[in-house]
């Protein structure tokens, strides 16, 4: 830490709260004036030193002066971000560096490789930094878990960095305290303990080698201390399954790109789990009709409807507790010695799948879901073994989690010890057990018996509130660290910015526990890797390579050779229960509740349900009808003696007599955004039945608004989404375009504009690849400064997303086929929106882009009415947050922040095109998307490369090939809009033996 510059001693320190209060007094234009005044005062600068980023740093060579400079710049950027669209300009300041950092060219972003961790596992990212402010996170193409993609959680992590509700100080008993005080307190607390007896550490899943090494060092120093792990969404079942099958807690790495047949036993491998982005990419690479390649086939046995099931060629919808019975039947079919359960009605399906699996020996994958009991995982392992998949499509690697334990057991053990009063010091790293511990742990009550509870986290959350100490944590973009990915690959986490709110990382906390409170994250991490790499003098250059590449080579988990044991599963399974079943699932938006204060994730329509802002309880249409429950009705779910009330939502394809309960709602101390959304499902989740529980469901008289972004779920026979079987496609490749009544090029009385020259932008969305994960939605939101509007505004139909994933159901409501279709501005050549705008605020560019000029728009909304795709979004209010300073830092400086009363829509990321265009023009050539690395934000984020953007005039471009494919079609081209965004029809690969059975989605299209 550089020392705080001397401020005039007579001036008292200004706190952030004070500064806010000063600003709160000013309104409108005055606000800006006073912000400027404030920004120029010495006290403000001193405050900024303390409260705001101190270093926009990736490269540590900056001297202290530069760091302070950055603050000036920061203060200035606050002052400059004034009102737009005023007739007379405000006077603006221009604030240069004192010494300019060499690598920064004003206005040009820099990218740094680091890693985001979700559920403890790392996802390699490239973080974009504008003049020292991280503004966007992209996937790192060199990282195995990302391959350049970035899901919604990765994308939204940038908003968390700037969350104004983040914890902004270390607190001791609710009062601001210094780090040194903490160091003294922890030392004083630990020293009386003999060998650390009574010292317990609770963390979430840890894969970080450095952190694990630190904890091991602590356990060495205090042999009686205990380390507990608890993540509410964990891999306990996989761990126990592996132990059951192999006797050791190995991890599994799948190679979906090599699999011809995939059988998912309630596994949502496309959207959940540490490797989901990679798996989705690999799976879709094979699950696509391509000449000379065998298209893979996916069977999904599914309880709660999920995105993997939506892609399945054959889906079997059963209660979660029945999956084991089906797995047993399948295992028996493969010659394994297991006892059979009840598979009434599904035998035909099972035998067809078995035949297919057997045909694909060595080329198949059987994968079990994390919510399925250990036995199902063990059976899956055994089946992979039986099918000779090991070493081919399935690889066993050493466990990625450090010293893996059963989380449910671990937290139970901790709470028992706490209740018994034997826990003297409890250090909770990032965990929030008061909110999410199993209900049977009675964690809150037990915590009251701990003499010293220390909580370290990003937020002053439920647990922090009842702890003695709260330590403000750093965000991953503010800290040095490391993390391992699903396959074990380690990445150095490097900061892009000094801690905004003065937080400390977990590494620094543990170092303090070890008595070295002054050590910085960088030192700690480097020390570990110096030792681990054995590089000696070459370490510095290696370190730089690791930072640049974002991966540490050859850290992927070593392949383990193991043969599945036999003998498990020989006992008969528990008979199918007639009791009502609750299936717990992490929420697609807020996950386990950790992201509850993230507006982007809260407002992201949850895939398949399109619900925003709340977690809900899903019921099948039949169950709902039988019980007289409608979407939005509040129901009471009871597991044992525990009860909670939840809003119901009727979901086609859900198994009967069961309900999916999404976790993550009902936060009480998440922050202003997350508090009061949804319900707390942890109230009925126990350590014995963390995933599948039996209980009762009863209706209540009340109901609430469950807000969705889509109210109609059927295509109504319209040919908007086109799908056929592989067989039919081979028979008639022209089938897709046969639906276009007026052909591919309807005539017009106007001659049309000449788009034959230069770059002509277009986009192809491959419906075959889209898994509906909504990464594109959040990526677009991050890139284009799209505001969050809140639940009430979404209810009124005013969500602002520029790209949305439409979801339709077809066929039998009990087992429907699901169509997922990303829709964004089509950039129609004959755009209906343009001709109706009275002020020429939306016009066409020579390179075929439907331009939207916000500053010209007066807001008649006529364009939106006339848009057949309804992709235009209107700022009914001043949706963009023009006041919260930290949120302004997140904004993409290359995109205008829209004011109220203005229409907006997808621009094909015009700011990115502009950058490429300017670069190309300087060289006197056209843009080449590959050479210039030009991608739209949605395209870049997409895990399955379902979105392709490019120059339709360039025959070398991927897009030109895709547009020439017989699968290519334009939506509503009969209106002669000539859309530039076109679609690739979806092809299913059903098993001919099963086609026509109830488990197969309806033949042909529309769904």
């Amino acid at each position: 830490m550089n020392e705080t510059p001397n401020t005039t001693p007579s001036e008292p320190e200004l706190t952030l709260a004070e500064a806010r209060a000063q600003l709160a007094k000013a309104r409108g234009r005055n606000y800006w004036r006073s912000l400027e005044q404030l920004a120029s005062s010495g006290r403000f600068h001193a405050m900024m030193e303390r409260e705001m980023p101190k270093q926009a740093i990736a490269v540590s060579e900056w001297d202290p002066i530069d760091r302070r400079d950055f603050i000036r710049l920061m203060g200035a950027s606050l002052a400059l971000a004034g009102l737009t669209a005023c007739t007379k300009q405000h006077e603006e300041k221009i604030v240069p560096y004192v010494t300019a950092p060499e690598e920064i060219i004003p206005g040009k972003p820099l990218f740094y490789a680091t890693a985001f961790s979700h559920g403890g596992y790392g996802y390699g990212v490239l973080a974009e930094s504008h003049m020292g402010r991280p503004t966007k996170v992209e996937g790192n193409p060199d990282h195995p878990a990302s391959l350049g993609a970035a899901d919604a959680f990765v994308q939204a992590s940038i908003l968390q960095l700037y969350d104004p509700d983040r914890s902004q100080a270390h607190l001791k008993l609710g009062r601001s305290a210094t780090w040194n005080e903490f160091a003294r307190d922890i030392e004083a607390a630990l020293s009386p303990l003999s060998n650390g007896a009574g010292f317990h550490i609770l963390s979430e899943t840890v894969t970080s080698p450095t952190l694990a090494a630190q904890i091991r060092a602590i356990l060495e120093k205090y042999p009686q201390a205990r380390w507990h792990r608890y993540s509410p969404v964990n891999q306990d079942n996989a761990l126990e399954g592996a132990k059951l099958a192999f006797g050791s807690p190995v991890s599994v790495r799948y190679a979906f790109d090599k699999a011809a047949v995939v059988l998912s036993l309630d596994a949502d491998f496309l959207s959940h789990g540490p490797g989901h982005m990679r798996y989705a990419r690999d799976f879709m690479a094979r699950h696509t009709p391509e000449l000379g390649k065998k298209m893979s086939r996916l069977y999904s046995v599914e309880s709660s409807p999920n995105l993997t099931g939506a892609q399945a060629d054959h889906k079997l919808s059963v209660r979660a507790s029945q999956v084991e019975h089906i797995a047993r039947a399948l295992a028996r079919g493969l010659g394994l010695n297991v006892a059979l359960g009840d598979t009434t009605g599904h035998d035909e399906w099972i035998s067809a799948v078995l035949r297919d699996l057997k045909r694909s020996r060595g080329e198949a994958i059987v994968i079990a879901g994390d919510n399925q009991p250990a036995i199902v995982h063990a059976l899956a392992h055994a089946m992979n073994d039986a099918l000779d998949n090991h070493g081919k499509t399935v690889e066993l690697i050493e466990a990625v989690e450090a010293d893996p334990v059963n989380h449910s057991a671990s937290i139970k053990e901790l709470s028992t010890a706490m209740a018994a009063g034997s826990v003297k010091v409890l250090l909770m790293l990032g965990a929030n057990p008061v909110y999410n511990a199993p209900a049977d742990c009675n964690f809150t009550d037990a915590l009251a018996k701990v003499p010293l509870a220390i909580h370290h986290g990003l937020y002053f959350d439920e647990t922090a509130k009842v702890s003695h100490w709260h330590l403000a944590a750093t965000h991953y973009l503010e800290e040095w660290g490391d993390v391992r990915a699903f396959d074990g690959t380690a990445t150095i986490v490097q900061p892009l910015i000094e801690p905004l709110y003065g937080g400390r990382s977990a590494y620094e906390v543990l170092s303090t526990v070890l008595g070295r409170s002054s050590r910085k994250g960088l030192e700690i991490v480097q020390e570990y890797w110096k030792e681990a790499s054995n590089a000696g003098d070459a370490f510095d250059s290696q370190w730089r390579h690791w930072l640049r590449d974002g991966v540490i080579p050859s850290t992927a988990g070593g392949v383990q050779k193991a043969v599945a044991k036999s003998g498990f599963g020989s006992g008969a399974p528990a008979p199918l229960s007639s009791e009502f079943e609750f299936i717990f699932q992490p929420d697609y938006g807020v996950w386990d509740g950790n992201y509850a204060n993230n507006g982007w994730l809260q407002e992201m329509p949850r895939p398949l349900t399109q619900v925003v802002w709340d977690n809900v309880l899903l019921l099948s249409p039949q169950t709902a009808a039988a019980r007289g429950i409608k979407s939005g009705d509040v129901v009471k779910l009871a597991v044992g003696s525990r009860e909670v009330e939840a809003p119901a939502y009727v979901q086609p394809g859900h198994p009967d007599n069961a309900a999916t309960v999404y976790l993550g709602g009902g936060r009480t101390a998440a922050g202003r955004t997350g508090d009061g959304t949804g319900f707390n499902a942890y109230a009925v989740r126990t350590s014995e039945q963390p995933w599948i529980a039996f209980g009762t469901l009863s209706s209540t008289t009340s109901s609430v608004d469950v807000v969705t972004t889509q109210e109609h779920h059927s295509l109504d026979g319209r040919h908007l989404y086109r799908i056929a079987t592989l067989e039919d496609f081979i028979k008639d490749p022209k089938w897709v375009q046969a639906y276009d009544e007026f052909g591919q090029d309807p005539t017009s009385i106007y001659p049309g504009f000449d788009y034959s020259k230069g770059n002509q932008w277009g986009m192809v969305i491959n419906l075959n690849a889209c898994i509906g994960c909504n990464a594109c939605v959040v990526a677009c939101q991050a890139e284009n400064n799209i505001p969050v509007v809140g639940k009430d505004q979404v209810r009124r139909g005013r969500e602002m997303h520029w790209i949305r994933v439409d979801r339709y159901f077809g066929g039998d409501p009990a087992n429907p086929s699901t169509a997922l279709q990303p829709v964004t501005c089509m950039h129609c050549e004959n755009a209906p929106c343009e001709s109706v705008c009275p002020v020429a605020a939306t016009t066409h560019s020579a390179d075929g882009i439907n331009q939207m000029v916000y500053n010209r728009c007066v807001g008649t909304r006529y364009c939106s009415n006339n848009c057949p795709y309804k992709v235009r979004r209107f700022n009914f209010y001043k949706f963009a947050d023009h006041t919260t300073p930290s949120l302004k830092l997140q904004r993409n400086p290359d995109v205008t922040v829209r004011s109220r009363g203005v229409m907006e829509k997808c621009t094909y990321c015009i700011q990115r095109i502009s950058v490429a265009r300017i670069a190309a023009k300087k060289q006197g050539r056209l843009v080449n998307v590959k050479q210039d690395g030009l991608q739209t934000a949605c395209q870049q984020a997409c895990p399955t490369r379902a979105i392709v953007f490019g120059d339709i005039n360039n025959p070398e471009d991927d897009i030109a090939k895709l547009r020439a494919s017989p699968l290519s079609y334009g939506m509503l081209i009969e209106l002669n809009t000539r859309p530039r965004t076109t679609y690739m029809a979806r092809i299913r690969n059903p098993n001919p033996e099963l086609e026509g059975s109830s488990s197969a989605p309806q033949q042909g299209e529309p769904v």
Partner: protein, 196 residues
């Protein structure tokens, strides 16, 4: 009829009738008697009075037509210039010169210009607004906007002779004959044409 008879402080002599028919008969006589600087004041447009008094035909229709043509050209030229030359935008793939789209505005400018020409032209040609007019000083002339029909002969008429003209009007069936004097402060007598 001699110069000396004309009273410089007299504007005109008026004759009042209570029906349009009576007035029309008298008007024809006035015209036939050779009076030219004459006018009629009526509470509503009386058919035939223009011919009866020998007042020249108005050319308003031609003026309004001119206005309409100008408006039409303006509307077309404005749109063509703006969309083809001044700032050509590609709109919905249509040509810059997409004339069918211009028709509504051309029609509106035509009507607007014609209407404004008609209204403004009428006021200008009628020399309105003219809140002061010497005729308002005439006795009982206020009834001319309600129920009475008035013929006036200006003192400036070459044939005017106060006595004779008064007598002539009385004989023509007027119910009342009066005089409209100029006011002392009247500066208009030598300037504006009082009849238009």
């Amino acid at each position: 009829m001699s110069e000396t008879d004309s009273n410089p402080s007299l504007y005109a002599v008026i004759a009042e009738f209570s029906t349009p028919e009576a007035m029309l008969k008298a008007a024809e006589k006035v015209r036939d008697a050779g009076y030219t600087r004459v006018d009629a004041l009526t509470p509503f447009p009386v058919h035939g009075i223009v011919e009866a008094l020998g007042i020249p035909k108005s050319r308003m229709a031609g003026l309004v037509l001119t206005g309409a043509i100008v408006g039409c050209i303006f509307g077309f030229a404005l749109q063509t210039w703006l969309t083809v030359y001044q700032y050509p935008h590609v709109i919905s793939g249509r040509p810059y010169f997409s004339w069918p789209n211009y028709i509504p505005v051309i029609f509106e400018t035509t009507v607007l210009f014609a209407g404004l020409t008609a209204f403004v032209g009428m006021l200008v040609r009628n020399n309105l607004p003219r809140p002061y007019h010497p005729i308002f000083s005439a006795p009982r002339v206020e009834d001319a906007t309600t129920s009475k029909f008035v013929i006036l002969i200006e003192a400036a008429d070459p044939k005017f002779n106060l006595k004779e003209t008064t007598e002539f009007l009385r004989k023509s069936g007027a119910e009342f004959v009066g005089e409209a004097p100029f006011e002392a402060a009247d500066t208009e007598r030598n300037r504006a044409p009082l009849l238009s």
